[in-house]
Amino acid sequence: MNFHPFILPFSLGAIVLFAIIIYKYVSWIKKLDRKQKYFVNKNMFTFKTIQATGEVIREALIHRNIYKKNPVLGYMHMSLAFGWFLLIVVGKTESSFYAGTFFEEPWLAIFFRYFAREPHEYFMATQFTFIMDFLLLVVLSGVLLAIIKRMRSKFMGMKKATKHSTFDRIALSALWWIFPLRLLAESTTAAITGNGGFLTGSLGNLMSGLPVQALELPLWWAYSTVLFAFFVALPFSRYMHIPTEVILIFLRKWGATAGEQYSGLSDIQINACSRCGICIDACQLNFAADINNVQSVYFIRDTRYHNLTDDIANNCLLCGRCTEACPVGIETTLIRQQMRNKAEIPGKHYYDYADVPDCNSKPEVVYFAGCMSHLTPSIIISMKKIFDAAGVKYWFMDEEKGLCCGRPMRQQGFVQQSKDLISKNMRMIHSSGAKVLVTSCPICYKSFRDEYVLEIPVLHHTEYIEKLIDSGKLELKNSGKSIVYHDPCELGRGCNVYDAPRAVLKEIGELRTSELEKENSLCCGGSLSNSVIDLATQTKIRDHGLEVLTASKPDILATACPLCKKSLVHGNKVIVKDIAEIVAVNIVNKKQPKKVQTAKNMNEFEVSYK
């Protein structure tokens, strides 16, 4: 039998590692909620599983997404993960050939060169030796890059590297040592027996002056011991992302989605975070306001180790930039909302005092302006004008006595209160019998889409205006102004509406692009979701955003959110208008040309426009 006591640390480590991983997998899967379990059962034995396997290879081994973000960082991950994986697979094949059976000792592949001392005596021995040396070289190059990254993370295109916990440090140091030690151990053996390849053999030759006989065993012991350290630290360190990402990819392909409450899937997601730190660079709180301890990577780490504070959980704009940037696809903002959730009192109602009206006209459209639009009355006036010009019969649902849509409550974790508001608003909407709900506020829009159960479709006013133009009900003239469009977080990343606002603006003026737009657009800083930062910090975020948005010196900065408008307007840098306002002053009204000219309240716009 091929045995030596130095294999014991490795074997023990491997057993501990597998036991812990299986335990964790089982407890997470048990914690999945009903809907998630349903989808897993439904899709487990379908084509989706094969697709997921392909994705595992692309993401967990080759790291295509990181590669796209940053080629050097991608190569580092790929050489470590894929290289190591191939080392195991090829090593296992080699040792099976050597032993002449598939069921040789499981450690043989790991310490192969020590046991296979007589060179070139099995099938394709030379080729195997060459491949194994080559793979080792690839992995070593990855390790080298990792060390360089630690020292100067700027080189990899990242501004901030992540701070580490104790287990991370143990696992990281072990990881750095595994492959150099393997190289040294194999080389000493090669110096003694001559079984090395182009790498280990040559290094072995160089070592011939050293007392290789005395060095050989200690080096193999050291190699086995660092493997032990890495395996045992792994489940408690960031490297848990390696086995967890695999199960996450499968669950996602099977159709499990994160809900409003923390579940097993959330556990899996936070364990799948590799703490790569890409989200730190994406976060405006970091690069515009110099707050460096609240980003998703820290939030996830604190959640995982159960020491999350309220201040960290609440200090986030929920802008979604980090979710967009995360190469693993972790739903960072959703998990943050789950962690903000508060206890509920069954049966309690909070807003019984509100006596909301039912609709008694028979409108085509229900219009919900939203609380924030009431602070920007010009948006409301413009929408009224647009409805009238298109001859649409509408009911302005929150004109006099409206309620909040419920989303701000939910974002702070008061789910019960939010549901209370939702049920009241839903009753009002359905009382109208209208065919479509239009809203001016992206926050409400997101809430209507995701949290309400509505019988009618909901449109943001930009989408609605686009439809009016397409159907010929609304005709606009080109104002000749240059316009840059600011994507509101909730409308863009939140609801994936990028094209409708742009299509409308192209009708009215010359649409210019800005450096960061669509998925990469910035938050205006006014987000309600952050209950920690003060006005001064919000101002920094806003000013930085304005800087980017107005780089091309447009006549007008357009947006589609009353809250964005309110915060950007105070920057006093450029004329800021909601799309509805720009549309309202550029309507071509053939039927009643006189009425438009005499419409008094519209003159204000014309003036402030110039």
Partner: protein
């Protein structure tokens, strides 16, 4: 009688033996802008909840500042956290953060995070 949306309060004397002024200092630590409030009432004038009921955030803030917590928790439950008050405040007070924190501090419900 017509409900005008406000009432005349009984005269109140601040009793320094019973009033808990310490709580306000803790609030200031969490929301430093709270002390900038000049009690102008703009927040209440714009308040969404105030459209429907007599809820008055300015008054709640004042009560808390004076250490008078009676009935405050139920009163704050009326707020919808919509954020209008924060946007209109001329002094840049993070009113919404005040309400959020007061809710957590004052509620009977131990607003702990959901068990993991």
């Amino acid at each position: 009688m017509k409900n005008w949306g406000f009432k005349i309060s009984k005269p109140r004397v601040l009793d320094f033996d019973t009033a808990n002024l310490d709580a306000y200092n803790r609030l200031i630590e969490k929301v430093p802008s709270a002390h900038r409030c000049l009690m102008c009432g703009a927040c209440t004038a714009t308040c969404t909840a105030n459209l429907h009921t007599t809820f008055n955030f300015r008054n709640c803030h004042l009560m808390f500042r004076r250490g008078q917590f009676e009935g405050l928790a139920e009163e704050l439950d009326k707020c919808m956290l919509c954020g209008k008050c924060k946007l209109v405040c001329p002094r840049g007070v993070n009113t919404r953060a005040i309400i959020y924190n007061l809710r957590i501090v004052l509620s009977d419900l131990n607003y702990k995070k959901i068990e993991l």
